[in-house]
């Protein structure tokens, strides 16, 4: 192999592996590996700095000023105002309620579906596909479709209720937040089901075999094995669910426009209103940052409790 001669450092017997190589000495080969790695990383570093960290920094600066045009530094005023503003507090609480409702709903339905589909029902691939379709559908379509279905005068839901002798409802007036929760449960349960199915598949069959030998019944096995071993999955679903619910924008924007009144003014919808309708830029930036802080706290809790040590 004449080509070997052209490679500078191969005199060690074992081929130098870039990942296994931990030597202090910076050999020419290792230097080449480091340079290669950095070259490959340049686009990513440029992108994430320009599109994430620089905007983040800008947003932080703006949140301590009166706004974009003729900015005046206002210290923590925007934050203090947001934390005591009944509109913001209301919107945060509504969002928490929305998150709690849609999570409880989609976890119950998603887990039930996962348990049922996991026992090898015939046609489970067809069922799984049907259940996942809403998740793959754009929020623009979902929002408009449900607005039509729920419409008090032309919607088919009330027509159906009348047909069976029940009174129609003005869903989006009498129970707006619950209705949005219902739409979300309809859309997201399939995704939650998939996460639980993955969690169920990860439980080793041996655990069940062993407990069967020990004489545990079906119910005991479910309660003592399935439920505890699904806890990490449930935890993941909860955290991811809260974080994505906190950022739900499409439904209030398309279906309710935040109303009636402020009943469905979810947090990011409120940020959007402050930014583009009220143009209170400094204030909106502070609100966005408060959301970031909340999400960071949740994420850190997840990293502490969930088994995410393998990330880095």
């Amino acid at each position: 192999m004449s080509l070997v001669d052209t490679v500078p450092v191969v005199d060690e017997g074992t081929p130098p592996s870039p990942t296994r190589r931990q030597g202090r000495r910076v050999t020419p080969l290792r230097r080449k590996q480091i340079i290669t790695a950095y070259l490959f990383l340049i686009p990513a570093v440029v992108f994430f700095v320009a599109m994430f960290f620089y905007p983040l920094f800008n947003e932080l600066l703006t949140s301590f000023t009166s706004g974009l045009t003729d900015p005046v530094p206002v210290g923590f005023d925007n934050y203090l105002r947001a934390l005591s503003d009944p509109v913001v507090i209301h919107s945060f609480l509504v969002t928490l309620e929305y998150a709690a409702g849609s999570l409880v709903g989609s976890i119950i339905i998603g887990l039930l579906l996962a348990l049922m589909l996991n026992q090898g029902l015939r046609g489970r691939v067809v069922l799984r596909t049907m259940i996942l379709v809403p998740y793959m559908t754009s929020i623009a379509i979902v929002g408009l479709l449900w607005r039509n279905i729920l419409d008090p005068s032309v919607g088919i839901l009330n027509t159906a209720l009348h047909a069976v002798g029940l009174p129609g409802q003005e869903w989006l007036n009498t129970a707006p937040l619950q209705t949005l929760i219902g739409i979300t449960v309809w859309q997201e349960s399939g995704y939650v089901m998939m996460l639980f199915l993955a969690g169920l598949q990860a439980i080793p069959e041996e655990v069940y075999e062993a407990s069967k030998i020990d004489g545990a019944g079906v119910w005991t096995r479910f309660r003592r094995i399935t439920v505890p071993l699904l806890a990490p999955t449930t935890f993941f679903v909860l955290l991811v669910g809260v974080i994505s619910s906190m950022q739900q924008f499409g439904l209030p924007y398309i279906v309710t426009n935040g109303g009636p009144g402020d009943a469905t003014s979810l947090f990011v919808f409120q940020v959007y209103q402050e930014t583009f309708t009220n143009q209170d830029i400094g204030y909106a930036s502070a609100m966005a940052f408060l959301l970031l802080i909340f999400i960071l706290i949740l994420s850190f809790i997840q990293m502490r409790i969930g088994r995410r040590k393998d990330l880095v």
Binding site: I34, A37, P55, S138, A140, G217, F222, Q247, A288
Partner: protein, 290 residues
């Protein structure tokens, strides 16, 4: 423990079954089928709605099926607004972003999977941390930046904020860790350039993960709503997700046309999903592993 590793079709004991209570399997079938129907019936109704006549959608009582299927609604929707253009814009934007994800995400994932270098942990953590940043935190600064650059109402304005994706990088990194090093090292000894090792040897081994990544990027970008809403104001640059609610606002009595316009986006995405659902399922499972 025997060596007969895989008993054929062993019945799983993880779900509910008849030993839980008599008839549990039958109940499971009924409940699962009902829930699956509840998922698709509203969407099937949307198809029916799209083919109803104006009288049927404005009549006060909704009808389940059109008395005659109004195929003319397809042409009417294109006459009412340039939906061809909107759909094309969506395809261009989602297509460009998907290509960009497929080029960059595996490249970055490869570096974190196979190389050791100073600051590796810090850079990787920083990239992963971007997953926690809500879009609304960078929305306004991006808007200002792009407005100053004259990038609002342009394809680059719609594409650039999403050129790479931390989740895609993480997914590719996880997959590449399991790609064996030997081939690459042999090529390195033979004097192959680092780029060739990556492009010709490592990347072809990650095709299943690339399929998942490409599919998810495309579907999610086709469905993306917030940024196009903010970054475009001209009709020429409008994408279909933004066009739908606007169209509905302008012609709010013509639910049949709104539904037909929705189908322009729904049908292709749904068809794509049906043909590739194996990958979708794998992708969702991967998103839950870590």
């Amino acid at each position: 423990m025997t060596l007969a590793a895989r008993p054929a079709r062993r019945r799983s004991h993880r779900g509910l079954d008849d030993r839980l209570f008599p008839g549990a399997t039958a109940v499971s079938y009924v409940v699962a089928i009902l829930l699956a129907l509840a998922c698709v019936i509203p969407l099937l109704y949307m198809i029916s709605l799209a083919f109803q006549s104006d009288a049927e959608v404005q009549g006060g009582t909704a009808v389940l099926l059109p008395s005659t299927w109004q195929w003319g609604n397809i042409a009417r929707v294109f006459d009412a607004a340039p939906f061809g253009r909107f759909l094309l814009n969506s395809l261009i934007v989602a297509g460009l972003i998907t290509i960009s994800h497929l080029v960059f995400d595996p490249m970055v994932g490869y570096v974190f999977a196979k190389f050791d270098f100073p600051l590796k942990g810090a850079i990787f953590t920083a990239i992963l941390a971007t997953m926690m940043i809500p879009f609304f935190v960078r929305m306004l600064p991006l808007y200002v930046m792009f407005s100053n650059a004259g990038w609002l109402n342009s394809y680059q304005g719609l594409v650039v904020p999403f050129l790479m994706d931390a989740f895609g990088i993480f997914l590719m990194r996880q997959y590449m860790i399991s790609v064996p090093n030997e081939l690459g090292e042999a090529a390195r000894v033979d004097g192959a350039s680092e780029w060739r090792i990556y492009w010709n040897i490592v990347l072809p081994q990650t095709k299943p993960a690339l399929a998942v990544l490409g599919l998810f990027s495309f579907v999610f970008q086709m469905n993306e709503f917030i940024w196009p809403l903010i970054a475009t104001s001209t009709e020429q640059m409008r994408v279909i997700t933004i066009a739908l609610p606007l169209f509905n606002k302008e012609s709010f009595t013509q639910w049949n046309l709104t539904a037909m316009a929705s189908l322009l986006l729904f049908v292709p995405i749904c068809a794509l999903f049906l043909f590739t659902q194996k990958y979708v399922v794998r992708g969702i499972a991967m998103s839950g592993i870590k």
